[in-house]
Symmetry: C2
């Protein structure tokens, strides 16, 4: 079947989201007999709904190469969720766009919600009889997709978080009387990224590590912070943005904390520490830089980003559909993986949190977590700068 492909980026960007796109374009160009056009959908599934499709074959080689070090989503992204009812007129519009451009392959690069998009498209094509393959390429710094050993994007984000928290710890401990630092790391329900700081050696690691999977007891936490500060002159806590904690029995301002979502947890916690313990406190949110920084991308993650796209493309050409490319680990030392096609229906909307056998308590993780994470942060990519500034790709966006 000779048809065009369309590539969709969906959900929050990662350091290597555009690297998968790079991998797909490069591989697609090797298949001129099967692929009649290489298109990109602007702003995720919204581009298919509104017919905002660009021709990626018309972008320069330099732009395509630079995708590997470009933050954000080069095609634009979306958090739009497709309606449940397949009779919704939205679906008619999608089908029209696909037919108009003779598209036979759809690639959805994303996380949990995006695999829902992927799943719904596969059901749509099945029900309408449209001969269009749809394949999911896993991507999320949250590392919370099920069935796959890990998610593309996680390794680079973890490498950023580990190194940045090391810098923070080293800086924070250079005053005799320092501060309490509360460092907030992304992860609403799954604490994979926060857990990653456990790889840091004694002396330059947080004193406490709280994932959403830990029970967070505010009173115990305040005692811990107070004792550590007394002993060391500073105290560093790493928390997931989604840490859950019981209501402060003493009252005020805790309600406000409970309302804070996605960004702001560290700030709220810092205010409580300051008020209750009267210690100089500072919150640091790693914010969206942790998902946007290509400079600390891991080579393993980068290579897997390309490989997943490649595997996905070849699977689609062979007729596979309704699948997500999964990474299956064969061994830790040496690190070996293989790629498998996983049923999308079993992945969409399922969330994989950090298993309890990996969590060692508020101080850190177990060794099995270290064995799991270490291979994923290895190596780096060569970054091109122009006059000291990171070079990035920007599509010319030739509409079709």
């Amino acid at each position: 079947m000779k048809k065009a492909l369309v590539y969709i980026q969906s959900g929050g960007p990662t350091a290597v989201i555009n690297t998968s796109l790079y991998g797909c374009i490069k591989e697609a160009k090797k298949h001129p007999d099967e692929i009649s056009g290489i298109y990109g959908s602007l702003h995720g599934i919204e581009g298919l709904i509104d017919d905002q499709i660009i021709d990626l074959n018309k972008e320069s080689d330099e732009t395509i190469e630079l995708l590997q070090q470009t933050p954000g989503a080069a095609l634009g992204t979306t958090r739009y969720k497709l309606p449940k009812d397949i009779a919704d007129p939205i679906y008619k519009k999608i089908l029209e766009t696909l037919k108009r451009h003779d598209i036979g392959y759809v690639f959805v690069n994303g996380g949990n919600d995006s695999m829902d998009t992927c799943h719904k498209l596969s059901l749509l094509f099945k029900q309408t009889g449209l001969d269009c393959k749809v394949i999911g390429i896993p991507k999320t710094i949250d590392n919370d997709l099920t069935a796959t050993d890990h998610c593309v994007g996680f390794g680079s984000a973890a490498k950023y978080v580990i190194n940045t928290v090391k810098e923070i710890c080293t800086d924070a401990s250079c005053y005799k009387k320092g501060k309490v630092f509360v460092v907030e790391i992304m992860g609403r329900n799954a604490g994979w990224l926060t857990a990653s700081v456990d790889l840091l050696p004694e002396g330059c690691r947080p004193d406490f590590i709280y994932l959403p999977e830990n029970t967070f007891d505010l009173e115990e936490f305040l005692v811990d912070v107070s004792e550590t500060y007394k002993k060391k002159g500073h105290c560093i806590c790493a928390i997931s943005e989604g840490i859950v904690f019981e209501r402060d029995t003493s009252g005020a301002r805790i309600d406000a904390f409970n309302h804070v979502q996605l960004g702001g947890a560290a700030d709220a916690l810092a205010k409580i520490i300051e008020r209750r313990l009267n210690l100089p406190t500072r919150s640091i949110e790693l914010s969206l830089i942790q998902r946007a920084d290509p400079i600390l991308a891991s080579k393993v993650d980068h290579d897997e980003a390309i490989e997943c796209a490649k595997v996905g493309l070849n699977a689609a050409i062979k007729g596979e559909t309704g699948k997500m490319v999964g990474i299956i680990r064969k061994s830790d030392k040496p690190y070996k993986v293989e790629y498998q096609l996983l049923e999308i229906s079993k992945i969409a909307n399922v969330e994989k949190t950090v298993p309890f056998n990996m969590i060692g308590g508020k101080k850190g993780m177990n060794n099995c977590f270290k064995d799991y994470l270490l291979p994923l942060i290895q190596g780096g990519i060569e970054i091109k700068y122009k006059n000291g500034i990171l070079e990035t790709a920007k599509f010319e966006k030739h509409r079709i």
Copy 2:
């Protein structure tokens, strides 16, 4: 005169503060006839007061080499300010420590406040007749020391800020309907670091840039943000932590903002935007990572950090005292500097803000600023990682 030297790190760390220390140690080792010992004072001047001195000659070569990529202040630092009255018993303790260890050279690596320390020591030695030379090595990401063209540490911080803000802008603009981002950059009274983002090209730069030197008109700002968001679907503002603004005529919560010092300005401003414009808003503080990240250190800054220490050491050996090493620019293109010894009395406690002829308004800077900054962010240093994690130096701290 054959005497020992003692090195003091003072004030906030920079990405290259330990690189100057490296430079001093390496150069001192070349002068065995003049330098009898290479010592470090723990926690700045506090080490001289409390006799907490370590022998840097006993640290391994590997540790010394790694100083070049170690965040924080490897000797520990302080914000302690020496008393005005030279009869204060503190000074007696300092003199005792210096005599006890036969110290004849004191190097103070720091910014404004630290040059005050340097100045007071030079007065002390003059008045007491102690034959001890004291030399200041300039260091501050704030770039606010007078008389020198720029400060060691600024170029690396600027390179970090520019590249990180580029990542933020690229990530922030990938949704159709995004957010208002307020990015807070260090600089209490001097906006040099915030101004640096002006080097970013159109399309991945903040829409507005506010320094403490700009007049910040809240009402005008809100109109600007609102219009930009309407047009682009997002809006990115870079502000100095020290921006000054007039009182909001509409009332509530502005007082709270005025109380926010050093960290928190963006957060307060974001809350105002959200409340007044009802737009999704997020604040991002670059926080202490901007002064702690060696990965984005500039080679020019790194080399100057070493050179300043070298020049300072050789000047002290030749008998100079009460001076700070200044960097005098001879030309922008090609970038050429020379080093001069500047009277410490004229530098201590004086602050150099961004001159108005460099400021182009709320949208950015003038070309003369670009010519000034561009050479300072050039090149990078080779970073050593071990298993994906930045290697850092930690002194064994052999007390003498």
